[in-house]
Symmetry: C2
Subunit: 403 residues, 2 copies
């Protein structure tokens, strides 16, 4: 709506905006033509051509010599996002691993490194330095692919705001300036990354973003996203946007009390969901070494493993029925370790949801309870946040910062 | 931001929008001058004068002969929203009462009727006909004040969508077409209301809207709003907007399980918050006749009353700590019966929140747990929804529908 007090955007602002519009349109299409872009965004063909030329010059787009007949408009040269140039660096620091990935403008995961570590109660600066070391190696591999980081996203467990981990019970961290520590360590290893834009968020939020960007959600835009790790992370997505709450801390479903008198949790409360459905609790209850071992034992019908999974499913169902009653999501997406265990978690989980969610709020339709995509994780979500910024204002990233 | 595909608003559309802008500005100010409106909305003084004249002619604004010196600009004739003409009819149907109010454009509650009824398991059509009867009386009183309804808002317990109550466990209603039944009954009593625009929502959502419009929230815009009635209603407000969820059913905190093995609830689950902190459960546990009686008994130190209130506070704290962990609100606002009982509920409630909310998510700052304003309720919120529509497009309401 036209608003009389809205200042008129100046011409360079409009062009900047339109560069983003064209780049986002090509990104969403994967491959397309100038004519199709013009039809889609409602600009004239010459205007689109001029914008496309600039994006080609700056290395955000590439064209292939081939032509094809689209459904509408004349055949044209194929436009695609570049698979070189600006890329998103995604870094996930979790309780028992660090994952780093470099994602190019096409959305493809080009470099990936995972290191299993025990970060529980480890020195925060040391863990972040180790993450920076893995990131530096990944950036070296990315440079060989002619990819340079446009920024880095950090996915961190616990309460994250203002670039710091305020509180991460499972790591034992309090008020850790994660962005600063990571940037200092990375700059020492790769001086070219000095000044690299950094962004950080809770790992569950980042995993939900990855699902939105790279997953197989179809039209689904309002959902709860749980990630089973040592902790149980939660993210709330409403109409395609993360619900962050007043301080950015929303989604802590792992600390919903499912049994008020249950075992003590590292957060100080009792009977939190994590104490039943978190990875450590579940493996201990099942007597299993790791998730593949747990799945093997369940597959073999081992009663202890089956009982632990049923109990975890029951407690997941209790917590989820509370969250469903509060939030009325279209679906619940289970990520982390859960997709591998869903067959054994589901019966108790769905029974509990059926009994406890207000019935109009939850019907057991196909697709309402679903595993996260196997190609998404929090590190990809962290990289996607960087790509989002590049797509929103490509000119701001036109001189790639060396990695 | 200028978007190249955005259609240019035509002139009559712009004038219509600006009429709304001026009316909203006067409404928010309570009283003001043409000069202050012009400064506020960024239109020229002649443009504002022309818009004001039209709003005066249509009866949305009045001017008083007096002048005053504002902080900025020259003294001028005082402009105010009219206290005659279009008004909002608000109707709250709850388990044990029906309340109707008529609110004028200044936001003042001009007519109010409450009737205590036992609607539990009563015939839905009969309850809605009774509500229409009370509304017809209220409209007759409003007509004597030269107020005509611009629309009616219905505040209903349970899950409400598309003008119907999908499910209201405490009423025993399922798939009740509330708007249609109400409109039919009202039109029979007051034929002039035929075609009156109707809107409906959950009563807890309406109560939260009333708090936003008429309460004393200050800058608070992200909060949980609980209303203690027979049921316990919940509404989630994020950045000043109701969070409605995928189907409009979000906020059902009354059916969060606070003790998985607790007493059976009318919703089919066990140990729901309502079974401890709902009005019926609380009065039964305390052996009290009504809320004033309960307050008297607590005041007198009666152990049974104090124990029931402590238990209700503890269970409220359990449910709220889960909701706080999920939603990260700035504050929790307690309405309905709770403001009258807060002194006895608070100790157990805050202890439970301190123990169970992730500590970064809840600090016991002043104002984070607060009673709802005594001048707000769901019927006022329902009327506010009507006023919101009038303020958004006054021309659409320029020929008031007779009441």
């Amino acid at each position: 709506m036209n608003h009389p007090t809205e200042p008129k955007a100046d011409k360079s602002g409009v062009r900047r905006h339109n560069l983003s519009l064209v780049l986002r349109t090509v990104h969403e299409a994967g491959e397309t033509t100038r004519a199709a872009v013009a039809a889609r965004v409602g600009l004239t063909r010459p205007a689109v051509s001029s914008l496309v030329e600039q994006l080609l010059d700056l290395g955000f787009l590439v064209e292939s010599g081939k032509t094809f007949s689209g459904q509408a408009g004349r055949p044209g040269t194929v436009l695609k996002p570049a698979d070189t140039g600006p890329a998103g660096l995604g870094v996930e620091i979790n309780v028992d691993y660090v994952t780093v990935c470099v994602v190019d403008l096409t959305g493809t995961d080009r470099v990936r490194r995972t290191e299993h570590l025990d970060n529980r109660d480890a020195d925060a600066a040391g863990v972040l330095a180790r993450a920076a070391h893995i990131a530096a190696e990944a950036l070296e591999a990315a440079a060989a692919l002619r990819l340079a980081p446009a920024g880095a996203g950090l996915a961190l467990p616990g309460l994250v705001s203002g670039g710091s981990v305020r509180q991460a019970p499972n790591l034992g961290w309090n008020e850790v300036p994660a962005e600063t520590l990571f940037a200092e360590a990375l700059t020492e290893l790769r001086p070219g990354t000095a000044g690299l834009p950094l962004t950080s968020d809770n790992e569950a939020n980042m995993a939900a973003l990855a699902e939105l960007w790279f997953g197989e959600l179809g039209d689904l835009r309002t959902f709860l996203h749980l990630t089973g790790e040592i902790g149980v992370g939660g993210a709330i997505v409403v109409h395609g946007e993360l619900l962050r709450g007043a301080h950015g801390f929303a989604g802590e479903i792992g600390h919903l009390a499912v049994d008020a008198e249950g075992p003590r949790c590292r957060c100080g409360s009792r009977g939190c969901l994590e104490q039943y459905a978190g990875q450590a609790a579940l493996l201990a209850a099942a007597g299993a070494d790791d998730v593949p071992d747990l799945a093997r034992r369940a597959e073999a019908g081992e009663p202890r493993a089956l009982a632990a999974l049923a109990e975890a499913g029951r407690m997941l169902g209790r917590a989820l029925s509370g969250a469903v009653n509060l939030l009325d999501p279209e679906a619940v997406v289970l990520g982390g370790i859960y997709p591998h265990l869903l067959a054994w978690l589901t019966p108790a989980l769905t029974a509990e949801l059926a009994a406890r969610a207000v019935s109009g709020l939850w019907t057991p339709d196909a697709g309402r309870l679903r595993p996260a995509s196997t190609t998404t994780d929090a590190s990809r979500g962290a990289a996607a946040l960087v790509l989002h910024d590049v797509l929103a204002d490509p000119l701001a990233y036109a001189t790639p910062i060396g990695g």
